[in-house]
Amino acid sequence: MNLNRRQFLKLSGSAAATATVAGSGLLTGCSSGPRRPGTGEIASSPTICDICFWKCAGTVYTENGKPWKVVGNPDDVHSNGRLCTRGTGGIGSYMDRDRLTKPLMRVERNGKQVFEPVDWNQALNFIASRMRKIAEEQGEDRIALFSHGAGGAHFKHLLKSFGADSYAAPSFAQCRGPREVAFKLTYGEGVGSPDRTDMENSRCIVLIGSHIGENLHNGQVQTLTRAIENGATLITVDPRFSVPAGKSKHWLAIEPGTDIALLLAWMNVIIGEELYDKDYVNKNTTGLPQLARHVRPFTPEWAWLQTGIEPDKIRASARDMAAAAPATLIHPGRHVTWYGDDTQRSRAIAILNALLGSWGRPGGFYYQEKVKLPKFPLPKYPHAKTTEKIANKGKFPFASSGVTNAVIDASIGEDAHYKGWFIYGTNLPMSLPGITHKLRQAADQLDLVVVVDIVPAEVIGYADIVLPECSYLERYDDLRNSPERIPSLALRMPAFEPLGDSKPGWWIAKQLGERLGLEKYFPWNDYSEVLDWQLKQVGSSLEEMQRIGVKNFHRKTPEYLDDDAPFRFGTPSGKIELYSQQLKDAGFAPMPVYTPPQKPPEDYYRLIYGRAPAHTFGRTSNNPLLFELMPENAVWVNPIAAQRWGLNSGDYIRLKNTEGTMSNRVRVRVTERIRPDSLFMAHGFGHTERGLRLASGVGANDAELMSHVKIDPIMGGTGMRSNFVTLVKEEV
């Protein structure tokens, strides 16, 4: 049996170890009125939500020993006591009946590869022996980790202890990477997560393709709505009448892909009409003369032809921004990998903020602080011979984090660097655009593919071994110590016993460490010992945190820049770099340049995708509570296009891209809220893994339709908005 030849596996009925969860029993028969929930025996414990990466702190309640609800912790700066839709539905991730509850191993039975449940010992021994084999034949460094979520830290630790230091997450090259790189080039530091946007104090907010409110990062939603309540001017640039567009003074229904033209025109107005913050710009920036020369040709009239936005609207919105400055935030967005020139677009956003003087000013961007939390004392990691940088092969000079797509490329072909993958909580085939072919190629030649997840996501199809982690409600993870407005620690602890044979990530990593002779890196019996030690270094304890969940500390550093004191930015010049010598030296445009986007062929539409408030990517599609709220996505079609194709809301269609790839069937939503030349769908649907019994086969998957990916040469991001699709009516 050759395990390297991997057929793509899906769970069959026999292998799907079915989870059973105590149902939420309904008590009836109370004669004096409806039942009063919460009158039984109540227990509670603190948690940090893991449904998205905002990491809100909350409290898990049980009633009469049964799971009841999760609510926000009022002391938590991420949530202010209010979890979002997905966080409130977090209890559903425990109740998901399709959870992985047994380790699964790829075996050959009757000439077919199948997954078979095995015990932990067998699974862990197999992984350890393959890791040793890779180390002997190729070197310890030839194993890469793909990770998303807090628990990935345990596997990063395991691999670093082993001598492998290659790590990549889709949050960089498929999401925030361009803006982090652009802001670092401009200001010497990135925006970070949670975003350091000071929206609660903003008087004007500009959203460019960012649909906060549908994208439900809790602090972003809370502060944006505070700004609306305070009467801030909202300007939304979006081909779709998004939720925030409906609350905006200006909705600029831009032609997709022309954002840089608009940004340049705004700069043209703000510099040309001398609306920029002269004191701030003179004191803090470098490169204004070059920028002024650069943007002079890009008048609103020029931009009109590119963007379709009338010159008057461009001028009016620019003047509104300037009138509110410096409390004006040109929001940097989060998912910004669109057209391959995304670092340059994010640079334009960074520069515009600098012109308005919003960085380090109330209502713009504030400075964050985290707790100085000592690391648990451990021996030094062995030297890793290579890191994930080797996968970039001299490209992407400003990639400040692992590039997932580059690591995948470096696992394919005769000169493949990587021989083993750990994939933690990252559903690669849906997270990366048009990637399934490459994943198959890589899986065909890798010596080891380990997937750690709580549900059978599609990525298990490439695995030798699938390890069932318990949900965040059943485990300890690292303390949350995110940069925020005030330094703050939060605790995640088990509220329930792990379901079936699922185990916490820390336990899995330690077990593997012990099998690899790395005991000295795992000197604890329970991970709570690590947390207790760390907490005691900062005047708290595990016992205290189990009671309060969140502990806030006093700030020691200023939140904003001092206008009267000199400040050295972390750039080579020590100033905010409107003109980037670093980019110039590396062979890139030192100031943002506009390239017109490709137009759709006849009868094709630009495929635009985004978030829906009920779900986190495709991770929550099978969560029963969230599935019920939004079981499937729909394709938004303007009535003009709907008429052209004879479509009504609720009809099934398939989307076909320019290469002929056809989506799963998906319903139409005819709506005026989308441009006639574009289609929109929420990302995260169209699962194909049959083990996800709710989500499988429901809705369409945008990622599989993305055959045109524009790679950002500056940092390796995958531009995903360059794809065109046409509509194919469902045959009756």
Binding site: P37, T88, G89, I228, E229, A253
Partner: protein, 180 residues
Amino acid sequence: MSRYAMVIDTRTCIGCGDCVVACKTENNVPAGLNRDWIVEATNGRYPDLTTEFRSERCNHCSHATCVYSCPTGASHYWRGTNIVLVDPGKCTGCKACIAACPYDARLIMRPEGYIDKCTFCHHRVEVGKDPACVSTCPTNCMHFGRIDEPESLVSRLLRERRSKTLLPETGNQPNVYYLV
């Protein structure tokens, strides 16, 4: 009598559905049933559009036709307030209240068959808490309180802002208000 009202700001509501999930977990509402829901209304033609999102539920009407139409007294006002509850022990599942409710706010519990609905989380109200939906809303667009008390937040909001109710023409005197 204490008159409780919910005041929801459509200017900040984003239609995220958190209120729906919060109700479901708080009250153990069975799969497939909901006591509250989201309505999205779009007006106009591209690109001149407006949208309104509303979190809707039982209006706990001051003149509740469901209470008056109930033949067994199962539908009743809770402790002399306007909060409308159903006593499952008295409900025969005849559905007269469903026919009488202008808001389609009542559901048939399964598998038991009695009628269920939003309770304004009376179990929380009686200990001084807001209903679960109000207390979880990430936009803070929902407010709850007594409008028979002039200085309550809800009374002030209704004085200071323009508001509307749904189907006031029915004469039911609904107590869920939408700030516009």
